[in-house]
């Protein structure tokens, strides 16, 4: 575990939030990813090593082309590294087949996307039930857990609404509930506030912070907005396919506190679109 040794000193000092003994959820060891576009080889990642421990809230930043999306796809088991090892929750997933990765995604990873990516013409409840359907959870448990997850993101009473009957913030909260519902080892959020106004963004970040704090859920957030990254407790910046910097957030923002001070727009029930 040379990686662990190499990375740990960078974020170890000074942060009380860090529990050094916490189990690693993500261990990337010299990950390379090369795409072949016709005759040209594009090196998207050039040796990324990284450890993320249980209960961490990590923001990944970087300009477009920096390799953060590729990292995101590999972390989410949507793609495989060309070289290097990826150990997710104690399991080497770097050389897994398509089906094995689908199972891993189902059991261990929750996704939240920029564009919400909910099934249209499908109720919030059914959207949240979907991951459990692929895990083979029985109907009664599915229903129960979906209701709980929707309640956890503050959407009780909206279970039967279809995405087009929900505001952007509400849709994203349904997506968060969906990502939670299989009790994943990791939630990956890809620009989750990219389509939201600032107040709604804070609301979504509040949910993430609360889930991270209360349930100890490991979160990885990809964003290009520095102020959104400050809700995390550690920021990793990518540049040219490598990690440029990896440091703890010094003045971490607290979304719950900020929400109290923000003017309340009570009409979230009205459609924003």
């Amino acid at each position: 575990m040379s990686t662990t040794v190499a990375v740990e000193p960078q974020f170890q000092p000074g942060l009380a939030v860090q529990v050094p003994e916490a189990r690693p959820v993500i261990e990337l060891d010299h990950i390379h990813k090369t795409y072949t576009m016709g005759d040209v080889e594009v090196h998207a990642l050039r040796g990324v090593s990284l450890t993320i421990r249980e209960g961490e809230f990590v923001a990944i930043m970087g300009a477009s082309g920096s390799g953060k999306s590729t990292t995101m796809n590999i972390l989410g088991c949507l793609d495989r590294p060309t070289r290097g090892t990826y150990i997710l929750d104690g399991e080497d997933v770097s050389q897994m087949s398509k089906d094995e990765r689908a199972d891993i995604r189902c059991q261990k990873i929750g996704f939240v996307f920029q564009g919400f990516n909910l099934l249209s013409r499908t109720s919030a409840l059914e959207n949240v039930e979907l991951p459990m359907l692929y895990l083979g959870v029985d109907a009664a448990t599915r229903h129960q857990r979906a209701l709980e997850a929707l309640a956890a993101v503050g959407l009780s009473g909206r279970e039967q609404n279809h995405p087009n009957q929900l505001s952007g913030g509400q849709q994203q909260r349904v997506a968060v509930a969906r990502s939670l519902v299989n009790n994943p080892a990791l939630i990956l959020a890809d620009e989750p506030t990219g389509n939201l106004d600032s107040r709604t963004s804070v609301e979504v970040m509040e949910i993430f912070q609360r889930l991270n704090r209360e349930r100890g859920i490991t979160l990885v957030l990809v964003t290009h907005e520095p102020d959104i990254a400050e809700y995390a407790d550690r920021v990793i910046v990518f540049k040219d396919g490598k990690i440029k910097s990896d440091r703890p957030v010094e003045h971490r923002r607290n979304a719950a506190e900020e929400l109290k001070n923000l003017p309340i727009i009570d009409d979230e029930d009205d459609e924003e679109e």
Binding site: N73, D99, A102, C106, F111, N117, L130, L133, L135
Partner: protein
């Protein structure tokens, strides 16, 4: 993820787009309904032809005097000018051919029948007492004449329903007098009503008398033009046919080079020819309808392909949150199978309803065929699998990253 879950997912996906699902099914509905209705019409026609032939008797043979050969086209004429067949020939057939159970001559005399102040022109047919049994045509009231009547050339007559209606309106004809060529006959029976034959001729406009009486008292000739022979069973008709031919050639002292001077025809052949015709018609109708089923199937493939493209993002979402390729493939395959089977089921209901309505509206006989129903179900299932497989495979082969990015 088990099959039941995938079926549920597929159903939900279909319910989300009811209009499209319904329109896709329409192709299969029309196809299956058309196949069932067409096959019903074909089978109905076949059954009614069959029933008519059955009513004549499939173990029946015609023996007619003379054999015409006009430019290679041969037929038994039964012509009045042909005097090659005698009662003795028929007696010999009855006596010497083991596969023959009954024989009746059939001599026809057209004449005016008079009863009281009513009269009616019809053919008086001279037959033996076995006629009702050979033709499977019983009497409705009274009785047929007996072999004693035949031996003594008694002046007794059995009339058809049309005669009974026209000569004795509102009366019981049994025991009444009737005059044929000014000779008094006694009505002993009335035949059961038979209705029209397939050519629309009234089969009840007949009268039967002992052939001896017709020959001696009406025609004054003892030659026989046509006879009906009943074989002991349907299987024995071919044996009977060749045995009768051999016997008559021998009796008529024909050498090997001489052609037959009589004709033996077999009802089984007639029945089979009719059967072939209606079978061909059924197959033809089913094929035409089958084309529409095929077109319906292609419609399903079309919609499924469009649907895969349109739902690329949905597929990406499903894969990202943990659906295996096989689950996506099964979902799309099951969607297409559900579409075609549901279409098939509705098509069956519609097809059966049409088949039942056709006799009422068009007057054609129909027979709903279980085979057509089972065939349609299997075929529409096969259509679903066949035309759903390619789009399903296409959906399953999508890359989740690309699919999620799809706008």
């Amino acid at each position: 993820m088990n099959l039941l879950m995938i079926i549920r997912v597929a159903f939900r996906a279909l319910v989300r787009n009811k209009m499209r699902a319904a329109l896709t099914m329409l192709g299969i509905i029309i196809g299956v309904a058309a196949v069932i209705a067409m096959v019903s019409i074909g089978q109905g026609a076949s059954a009614s032809v069959q029933a008519q032939i059955e009513s004549i008797g499939t173990n029946l043979l015609f023996v007619s005097a003379g054999a015409q050969n006009v430019g290679g086209v041969r037929s038994g004429t039964g012509d009045t000018g042909t005097n090659t067949m005698t009662v003795d020939d028929l007696d010999a057939i009855k006596r010497e051919v083991p596969s023959v159970s009954m024989v009746t001559p059939n001599v026809n005399a057209r004449s005016q029948l008079v009863a009281g102040n009513m009269n009616w022109n019809t053919g008086v047919t001279g037959v033996s007492e076995q006629y009702p049994e050979i033709r499977k045509w019983p009497v409705a009231s009274g009785s047929f004449f007996t072999d004693a009547d035949v031996r003594t050339a008694a002046r007794v007559i059995v009339i058809g329903q049309t005669l009974a209606d026209n000569l004795y309106p509102g009366q019981d004809p049994i025991g009444q007098d009737i005059r044929v060529m000014n000779l008094p006959f006694r009505v002993v029976g009335v035949m059961l009503r038979k209705g029209q034959d397939p050519q629309g001729r009234d089969q009840d406009d007949v009268a039967f008398a002992p052939y001896t009486t017709v020959q001696k008292k009406i025609l004054g000739r003892d030659r026989i033009q046509i006879a009906f022979v009943s074989a002991i069973s349907q299987d024995a008709t071919y044996t009977a046919q060749s045995q009768i031919t051999d016997l008559l050639r021998q009796r008529h002292k024909l050498t090997a080079s001489e052609p037959d001077d009589f004709t033996v025809r077999n009802m089984t052949d007639v029945a089979e020819a009719a059967n072939e015709t209606s079978k061909t018609m059924t197959i033809l109708l089913a094929c035409i309808a089958g084309v529409s089923l095929l077109v319906g199937g292609i419609g399903i493939m079309n919609i499924m392909l469009v649907s895969v493209t349109e739902r690329t993002r949905e597929i990406g979402i499903r894969m990202a949150i943990g659906a295996r390729s096989s689950a996506v493939r099964s979902q799309f395959l099951i969607e297409s199978i559900v579409l075609s089977l549901m279409g098939g089921a509705i098509g069956i209901v519609l097809g059966v309803a049409l088949s039942l309505a056709i006799p009422a509206f068009l007057g054609w006989p129909t027979l709903v065929s279980m085979m057509a129903i089972i065939g349609s179900v299997l075929f529409s299932g096969a259509v679903g699998i066949f035309f759903g497989y390619y789009p399903a495979r296409k959906a399953a082969s999508l890359d989740p990253i690309e699919a999620l990015r799809y706008e």
